[in-house]
């Protein structure tokens, strides 16, 4: 590339590069300052706002550790359960069966004489005929019959011989 041409290219290049940069829009400084002011308002919260609760938490943790952390182990507490006194329970009356239950129960056949009379045996029939025909003799025979009273059993005292 000849020197003249090189110089010409340098000039064109310099001219173009001079415009490569750009100027900001008007009011840039003001916009930057506004942004900083807005941000500063948010960040200007005093540090003690956070420091006070943090210090309180540290203090409380230290207090708990000093008072409870270094003591010997305490015996485990045993639960004491208080039982209420036993109260007498009043007897409750049985509930009457409801009428409904009665209605459902099947009705039993009723006998004219209860318990039903059993038929007489042959000895009883013979005795009855004898008493009907000969009442005087039957009365006398009853009076002569031995007393039905039983005498008490008499047990002789036990006698045990001496051992030789």
């Amino acid at each position: 590339m000849p020197n003249e041409e090189r110089d010409a290219l340098d000039k064109v290049l310099d001219s173009a590069l001079a415009n490569y940069s750009s100027e900001p829009r008007a009011g840039l400084e003001q916009r930057v300052q506004n942004r900083i002011r807005t941000s500063a308002r948010v960040t200007r919260i005093p540090r003690w706002v956070f420091a006070v609760p943090a210090a309180a938490a540290v203090f409380w943790a230290g207090y708990v550790w000093l008072h409870y952390g270094s003591l010997p182990e305490r015996p485990l507490p045993v639960a004491q359960v208080r039982m209420p006194p036993v109260r007498a329970v009043a007897p409750t009356t049985a509930r009457k069966p409801s009428a409904r239950y009665h209605r459902r129960r099947p009705a039993l056949p009723k006998l004219p004489e209860f318990p039903a009379a059993t038929p007489l045996s042959s000895e009883e029939r013979a005795l009855l005929a004898f008493v009907t025909r000969h009442p005087e003799e039957a009365r006398a025979a009853l009076q002569q019959a031995p007393s039905s009273e039983l005498e008490p059993i008499r047990i002789e005292p036990l006698q045990i011989d001496d051992l030789k």
Partner: protein
Amino acid sequence: MTRREEAVERDARFAALVDRQARFVYRVAYAVLRNVFDSEDVVQETFLKLYRGSSWQELADERAFLARATWRTAVDRLRKRRDEPLTPDIPARHGKDPEDAAVAADWNAAIHRLVDALPEELRQPLALTTIEELNSREIAVVLGIPEGTVRTRIMRAREILKQKLAALMEDRHAK
């Protein structure tokens, strides 16, 4: 002096710093990002970070410090938007003659596209040279590389651009 008075004085000094350097900071951001809105966001972010700290009150080289801080913020933003295509806002510059201005604008736009197409390691030092206030020593501080490396990269970038520009001119003359 009470704390409140100290805070007011601090704010006043910072406002003066913003007034003094906001445009310079913007140009540094724009050299990296090539977008008006992103560059302004970076300016605000840079000053906000600075305000929250206290290092700005004792700066040996105010401009170098600001340029470095801005460059870092802008490069971070550039990495985040890497997926998006670079859409430079080409500023409209009008000469006295509308026809000349149109031709010049056309050439400028073409050269700007060539610059944007350079690798970042070459484009950024070159872009920073377009900011009048920055010399190669300051650019070295901003980029965190030796001054000699800055000069080498700028020369390489210019060589590439001149070759591409020559090819472009030949094409246009041929047509």
